[in-house]
Assembly symmetry: C2
Homo-oligomer: 397 residues x 2
């Protein structure tokens, strides 16, 4: 990078996580160390903000805001789901040049890494010197060539703790079936985390991922069987469950900004099927976006890694690396140790790492221990332990 004083730009893409601001904190704190970086810019509302030239001055932020970023939900920069098309690309490049952006950091998931990769190649092709680094972020955990993604651990911890609490509720008033819907359209990583909530006979009793088609008659049989044993049944399903034909079990009837079909209301649909076909009371819960924005359930490990990933992205760009995404590599599981590396954006962009089918049990209703071992360290230090009473009965009449 020949320029003495160059600017850095950070952009957020896609849905926020509980720790995307932790990555931003890592980016800002690291960038402030380098005298060769002049302005540190943040695009307001993602790539749309870039196109509108809405750049927040990140150097102008008070210290008390920067140091609290890790504990603020969602994206303080703002994000978007815009897919760049046609002339958008040349306009993006023109703007980057006009602002003398020489370090470009894109913090996002699959679609964002694709955009990031295209911008990187475009800059190279046009001879514009700019170091482009992707920083991974997704609660779906579906980015390829990284052990896991910042944002996943916290969303998974939310699922585990909430499902432990819900299991206590259902155990204490076992009058109905409860179907809970968890985010994750095509990848079951987040839904699978529910298996770490299981204690003794408490739920979740049944877990269904989008990687396996759901056969309604089998589903109803599974539910009836558990109901006959425990009364209260806790079922956790992915929002993206599909039938044998590959169609969403429940379809919201519209597509998102990237043209992906949006699933809708699978928990309510299945709950109604239970009521109608089994004649058993059933309710459905759908915490939805609450799960990705919960600060109380942030995983400490996830927060630390998200911050480190942001800092590593800056370090890499300043070393002249470009066209890579920051990748997490698990060194050991006990004690948990993970290091940062780089992976070519070509090996990430638009690949979707779905949940391994061999980690789903043979009936498709639960998760195997391999996943437990994979997921547990990502949830952070201590999980709550919700003890029950000693079941000592009095019989003195």
């Amino acid at each position: 990078m020949g320029l003495a004083k160059a600017n850095m730009l950070v952009v957020h893409g896609g849905g926020p996580t509980a720790v995307i601001n932790a990555s931003l904190q890592g980016v800002i704190e690291e960038a402030l160390k380098y005298s060769q970086i002049d302005n540190i810019l943040g695009a307001r509302f993602g790539i749309e903000g870039l196109l509108k030239e809405r750049f927040i001055d990140l150097r102008a932020q008070p210290q008390n805001i920067i140091e609290k970023l890790s504990h603020i939900p969602a994206s303080v920069l703002g994000s978007c789901r815009k897919k760049l098309v046609g002339e958008d690309f040349s306009r993006v490049l023109d703007i980057l040049k006009a602002y003398n952006i020489r370090y470009f950091l894109y913090n996002g998931g699959n679609d964002s890494m694709d955009t990031c990769n295209k911008i990187s190649k475009l800059a190279t092709a046009s001879g514009y010197e700019m170091d482009v680094i992707g920083i991974p972020k997704t609660i779906d955990n579906d980015l390829a060539n990284t052990d896991h993604c910042p944002g996943y651990g916290s969303a998974a911890r939310y699922v585990v703790v909430s499902m432990m609490e819900l299991a206590c509720d259902i155990e204490s008033l076992p009058i109905h079936i409860c179907v809970v819907e968890i985010m994750g359209r095509n990848a079951g990583w987040l839904t699978a985390a529910a298996c770490l909530a299981v204690r003794d006979n408490r739920g979740p009793h049944l877990i269904y991922l989008p990687e396996r088609p759901l056969i309604l008659t089998e589903f109803l049989n599974d539910v009836q069987e558990i109901y006959n044993i425990y009364g209260g049944v806790m079922v956790v399903v992915s929002e993206g469950l599909k039938d044998a034909k590959g169609q969403y079990i429940a379809d919201a009837g519209f597509t998102d900004g990237f043209g992906h079909k949006v699933p809708g209301g699978v928990s309510q649909y299945l709950s109604n099927q239970i009521i109608q076909n089994l004649g058993i009371r059933s309710r459905n819960e759908k915490p939805g976006l609450l799960g990705r924005s919960s600060i109380a359930h942030q995983s400490q490990i996830d927060r630390m890694e998200a911050r480190a990933a942001g800092a590593f992205g800056v370090k890499s760009a300043l070393k002249g690396e470009s066209g890579y995404m920051v990748s997490l590599r698990r060194i050991s599981n006990e004690p948990y140790e993970c290091e940062m590396g780089l992976v070519s954006l070509d090996k990430v962009a638009n690949f979707e790492k779905t949940f391994p089918k061999e980690w789903i049990n043979s009936r498709g209703t639960g998760i195997r221990k391999d996943f437990f071992d994979y997921c547990r360290p990502l949830l952070g230090e201590t999980l709550p332990e919700y003890l029950g009473l000693e079941k000592v009965y009095i019989d003195k009449r």
Copy 2:
């Protein structure tokens, strides 16, 4: 009470709260102080457990379990929604006599206080000396003649913090409307708490309670108006919203154990109406039972009061009081101070204290400050503060 050694029984009724175990802790800790109490029994699964003579020995519980009870979600005793009918009552009385229960504590909401009152009167009528005290518990906050109900503060804190976080999420990716459904069939207390999440222009932008009929055309106009200003719109609705004819906006099609109709899926219904009529993307969230079982969002004040209410119930029974519910009386608001008293079960049983209409704004889309002042102390000490970035823009091209 003439008997030297009499037994105490505690029963849980209805849906659990985040602090019903705190009340149980208060009951046990207080009861252990009195030498005239022999056995301390807990009915397993509420009044159904009583009828089945399933009594847990609460003296046999290890100290480490008793002292952690306040931090365990749901009901460790177990609860039920059974409505006593016909011969159930004489059978209950026979069992209470057979076990020499002389102190009877019923921890529950409206329906439970009605059952409690009937059992109290039956004992009196039959000349059986037994001190009967109700301990209030409901996330709905709809018990009459008490300032508020243990369980409400924690559920309300869950709503406030979750809605603050969701508001950050929607502010950072303002591409859709989000309709959130909160529990509370006939009383809007819990849904109303969402108003305490509002910061500057962040949501919730619209709040609808069951105390006012929802007119769909007005609702859609309200949503469109906010959407035109902010893009992202956050709407919070009660699960029990009714139309002008008094019918549930969305009906699950079945009744609960007390014969009450169960509402179903109002957030999904309204979200679909937005998509179909306004052509705007919309999602819906329904944390449901997660909100009443969250320990991370327990209100410290609520936990303390729930424990104190349990202890006060025991104290009152041991003083020979009977036919009363423990009632909370607010002495002052700043600093918040509340004392325990007693109110006749006749003045509580089956009365439903709905949300005051004069605390709803004139359009029926928001809550007035009087409620804010009422609710704030119940949420406990510190609420999170989710700061945004300083919106200082760079324009240097």
